[in-house]
């Protein structure tokens, strides 16, 4: 058995996602017959049935589900390899750091200052991204390192270095009665009439059902809190961007949040290693 080609994997992933050869072929920009043949060849090569075709549709076998999961991250990795190689050539001494917009501003500032002070430090480009996008950016090579937060972000597959552990705080409208308290518990802010907790999207962009407003980024959140429409639970360093209409109250029973510096496993980049070293010594 010689090795799989990425073209075959791309074809398979598309078919497995659509569960429909013709639609998959259209998405891939090829005709349906070559696609059927490519999948057959892939199955023959692996010696494994990946798709169960019966009347009325296509279904994944167990092995097919395994391959779908694995092939997706593999294709991400292929794209990542290409991008990292290109970046290594075009900007030999530059790193891209991804972080959630608004999070850990002070820490980031300290890290950048400390790193800039190092001799022949890499130039660092900061990319602000939405919730949970850092993992994707690391995986597909658009970023070299990222700020991520335990236990919120999935750190699996990355190498990490802990930077800072902090309490969480409730961000409340300044005029709300609860804002006068010096500390709160999660129970205190759950189900407060007229102040539902805001809901963040899941990985796939959907929202859990609930009373609170659906939000995408911190600016939306900030405004909704300032308007007195919602509250939120965030890590203590969020204080650095609070409005005067906001109040942050410590939560005694919320899990602590650890901010980590994360980078792709197996990275051998000198520049990443130097940045991590700087971060450790902060």
């Amino acid at each position: 058995m010689d090795t799989l080609e990425t073209r075959e994997l791309r074809y398979f992933v598309t078919v497995a996602e659509e569960l429909h050869f013709s639609r998959a072929a259209e998405r891939l920009g090829i005709a349906q017959p070559p696609l059927s043949r490519a999948i057959q060849q892939l199955e023959r090569r692996l010696g494994v049935t990946l798709l169960e075709r019966d009347r009325r549709g296509v279904a994944l076998t167990d092995a097919g589900r395994v391959l779908l999961d694995e092939a997706r991250v593999l294709l991400d990795s292929v794209a990542a390899v290409a991008r990292r190689t290109q970046r290594a050539a075009s900007a030999p001494n530059r790193l891209t750091l991804a972080t959630k917009a608004g999070a850990n501003h002070d820490l980031l500032r300290k890290l950048l200052d400390a790193h800039a002070a190092e001799p022949d430090a890499a130039e660092i480009e900061v990319v602000l991204c939405g919730m949970g996008d850092q993992a994707r950016m690391l995986r597909d090579g658009r970023a070299d390192v990222a700020f991520m937060q335990r236990p919120f972000d999935a750190l699996v597959g990355f190498d990490t270095e802990e930077l800072l552990t902090e309490q969480q705080v409730a961000i409340l409208p300044a005029e709300h009665p609860l804002a006068a308290r010096t500390s709160l518990t999660l129970a205190d802010i759950a189900d407060v009439p007229g102040l539902p907790v805001a809901r963040w999207p899941n990985q796939d962009g959907t929202y859990e059902p609930g009373p609170g407003p659906e939000i995408n980024d911190l600016s939306q959140l900030a405004q909704l809190i300032a308007l007195g429409h919602t509250s939120a639970v965030l890590c203590a360093s969020s204080r650095s961007w609070l409005w005067s209409a906001h109040v942050a109250v410590p939560l005694t029973d919320a899990p602590h949040v650890t901010t980590v510096l994360a980078w792709p496993a197996h990275s051998r980049s000198q520049a990443v290693a130097r940045l991590v070293k700087t971060a450790v010594n902060l």
Copy 2:
């Protein structure tokens, strides 16, 4: 830029390893001109110079070094994906667990017993491997889970669950004077005349220079210790395979060793998840 094909990456890795087109072509079983062309095409596609060809040889550029590192693990991943898919099809409910021969025998026994007691538990095949082979076996898909040890094994790129933290002990010949002590320090056993500490191979199979014998596995080590020729530092659970000619003495200042259950990051295997759950509840 469309995506890289694994064929191109295999070609590039071979050339980068040989730094010689003709030899690389021979290893790949193709002729030299198509190989030159393939590499040129890869460079054109990436828009990056990967190899510096001048008279008397080929050298990697910085970008080429990046691609070599990345492509190697990527090709491993491709092979892993194929193998895991095949295993998912041929043995739907079987897991392969890799562990260092001789290490953590009792813990393994407990895990296997507990797991066998679960309803519809996966069948578990235990593969014993040499030092540090577990990482490779997880990466290339020959194993689904592995016992690994911090801080010795590189856990980067894997998801892990801590199982057991234990002290390290010095394993000494029973007749040696130091064997009578109730505890030792690392300094005590370093540079003992006539009893040099055994040397394990590095990842690449080479050995650090030093006075002690070069060893590959625990049976070699056991015999050499029993003969009074060497000593070793191992985790406390190694006591389960000691000979009567061995004595284990606790080391007060050696770092503790944590045995973890490790599996490939992003694994979504139900069977792995169930085994991990069992392990956590041990």
